[in-house]
Amino acid sequence: MAKPNVITANRLTDGVVVYLAAEGQWTEAIANAQVAEGEEETKALETIAENAVREREVVGVYPMPVALVDGAVDPLSVRERIRAAHRTTLTKDWYDVPL
């Protein structure tokens, strides 16, 4: 079965990573992203997102596959985990290498 998807982009005015949430809203919190199950639902969300590109709300829209872990959205790739974390690296810390 196809993986569930959420739609992600960068907000035009400040570039911040956002996700398409309910009712065409965009959210910085991946937890609030609308999850599309299957191709048809993904297509429907993409149409909303493309409209938001025309409306100059967001840029660089794409669907990304996610897993649902106990109902919570889990980005599958390291890249998408980093994007979702909005993380700053100035802090003095040691990383746990596995993210």
């Binding site: 960068n10 570039g15 599958l76 980093i82 100035l90």
Partner: protein, 551 residues
């Protein structure tokens, strides 16, 4: 330092106004992203993983305290209070907002700075030896030549749309501290047949997917012909460089496809035909630019300072820092001081606004108002009286800016990698931090000695992994970050590209692999031998054996 004249001021202000208008048109919808993208890139504005990234040009890595303070203010006001110094001696802000960019550019223009040509297929920021006008082994200050090239190349009509980006570095010293052999054009100031200074010209060096060490196109170029000769190189490149394949578009590919002899023939033929009528730099203009780079007035002082000697004898941390981060100066009683941005636990090359402010203050107090950005991602105060060094050190310690690891293993070059960069395949910052943790003990680094460790998050090689004595390249293997290790790279004289030592390592195994490599070096080295010398003598076998055993 160079100061803008009226023309420069007006030019940069015009450019700010122009880009302000372009941003407004993007926000109003008059421009779509496709139309806007090349315009923003022309002004150093990228859209990265998390946000917009602004690359601010620091011409040949030279800043005044006023400029550094302004960068601190900009990062604090319009970003998250920090920036990242890069291997092009530039500063990148990671979280700026598009709507704020016109204000940021205006604030930069206030201190004679901009972001022009920090991106795009044009001549990028010319880099230089960070110890210019201070180093004991310097023949001539490269900065005026960098400035001449900067003015010549800015919006040069013929060379604004080259096949690919173009990087130039200049060193005026005996030791190459600007990695000139890894540039599209590398210039070394050398003595000519009649004792006069001129340029040894290297061409076709570069990193990236296919790394090359630059080759000599001319052993000696009289200084007065610099511009016309470089024009001829760029013209041949512009004509014959490939535009059909982005991976084959750099001049290094052309030079190696034609062979250096044929490439030289083309350049010399063009130069013969054009240089007599070309405008090489008028003498007045050269003198005007040179006059800005008169070294500060440094009255000679006693070479030995008793108080400093006593402090070194009594304070081991100070002594260790002094040994590595305080370098000889050509005027007795002075030194160049490296302010390390490589404190273990921090992202290499990152500096907070507070740190920038502090360094700006110290530059004013102790550094004759000049600070440099090293391509190895540290800051340098080139002219400090040795007697002032303890006070400078004491001011750096509480800010965690007094790590004594210049040119040691902890002084890693590290690109932003997957924590920021849209092109990245793997993270580099966390790996650098883990390695720093493993080698945190200064006595371990002391035992190892000088060692250049460079790391990139993808094959674009912004972290110069090819020229690291140890290089680490992050790759993506079916969704897993994997790290390929190269050994034997060298950015200095007798430059070389590192050799891949074997299969890559998973992230968590990298620090141990580096440890193993270092141990193998220590076991195999002869007395006083550097990592590179040992590698060149013993070859890959013992390292392979230690890393992979019977695998």
């Amino acid at each position: 330092m160079y100061r803008y004249d009226e023309f420069d001021h007006a030019f940069v202000r015009d450019r700010v106004a122009e880009f302000k208008d372009q941003v407004e048109r993007r926000l109003s919808g008059a421009l779509n992203e496709e139309e806007f993208r090349p315009l923003r890139l022309r002004n150093g504005l990228y859209l990265q993983l998390h946000a917009y990234m602004l690359r601010i040009a620091i011409p040949y890595g030279v800043l005044s305290s006023r400029q550094l303070r302004q960068l601190a203010m900009i990062a604090r006001t319009w970003d998250r209070g920090y920036g990242h110094f890069t291997t092009r001696q530039n500063l990148q802000l990671n979280w700026v907002k598009l709507v704020d960019i016109p204000d940021v550019l205006a604030a930069l223009a206030d201190v004679e700075m901009h972001c022009i040509q920090t991106s795009g297929n044009c001549v990028r920021n010319v880099t230089a030896d960070p110890y210019a006008a201070a180093a004991v082994d310097e023949l001539e200050d490269p900065r005026p030549w960098c400035e001449i090239l900067r003015q010549w190349s800015t919006l040069h009509p013929e060379f604004s749309w080259l096949p690919r980006k173009f990087k130039i570095a200049i060193s005026g010293a005996a030791e190459d501290r600007a990695a000139t052999a890894f540039h599209d054009i590398g210039l070394r100031i050398v003595k000519g047949p009649n004792g006069e200074n001129g340029f040894r010209v290297l061409v076709g060096g570069g990193m990236g997917r296919i790394p090359y060490v630059g080759q000599e196109i001319r052993s000696f170029l009289p200084k007065e012909h610099l511009l016309s000769y470089i024009e001829s190189i760029l013209r041949v490149y512009n004509l014959f460089g490939r535009r059909d394949n982005i991976h084959k578009a750099r001049i290094k590919i052309l030079v190696n496809a034609l062979g250096i002899d044929k490439f030289r023939e083309e350049v010399e033929a063009d130069w013969e035909a054009t240089h007599k009528s070309a405008v090489d730099l008028p003498e007045d203009e050269k003198r005007r630019i040179m006059s800005y780079f008169a070294p500060p007035d440094l009255p000679p002082r006693p070479a030995r300072d008793e108080a400093v000697a006593a402090r070194r004898a009594s304070d081991p941390a100070f002594a260790n820092w002094y040994k590595h981060n305080v370098l000889a100066h050509r005027v007795p009683g002075y030194a160049s001081v490296v302010i390390s941005l490589k404190e273990p636990g921090r992202t290499p090359g990152d500096a907070s606004s507070d740190a920038m402010d502090l360094v700006a203050d110290l530059t004013e107090r102790f550094g004759h108002d000049e600070v440099r950005v090293n391509y190895t991602q540290n800051l340098v105060l080139p002219h400090v009286a040795i007697a002032d060094v303890p006070a400078l050190y004491d001011a750096l310690v509480p800010a965690d800016l007094a790590t004594g690891n210049n040119e040691l293993l902890g002084d890693m070059i590290c690109c932003p990698g997957l924590d920021y960069c849209n092109l990245a395949n793997a993270r580099s910052i966390p790996i650098a931090k883990e390695i720093a943790k493993r080698f945190e003990d200064p006595s371990r680094q002391e035992e190892i000695g000088q060692l250049r460790l460079n790391m990139s998050g993808c094959i674009n090689a912004c972290g110069h992994h090819h020229s690291g004595n140890i290089g680490i390249l992050g790759v993506d293997k079916k969704g897993t970050e994997l790290y390929q290790i190269t050994l034997g790279g060298n950015p200095k004289d007798s430059a070389s590209v590192g050799t891949i030592i074997g299969p890559g390592f998973r992230a968590e195994a990298v620090p141990q692999a580096i440890d193993t490599i270092v141990d193998t070096y220590i076991e195999n080295r002869d007395e006083g031998e550097s990592f590179l010398e040992t590698w060149r003598r013993v070859g890959a076998a013992p390292f392979k054996e230690a890393l992979y055993g019977a695998r």
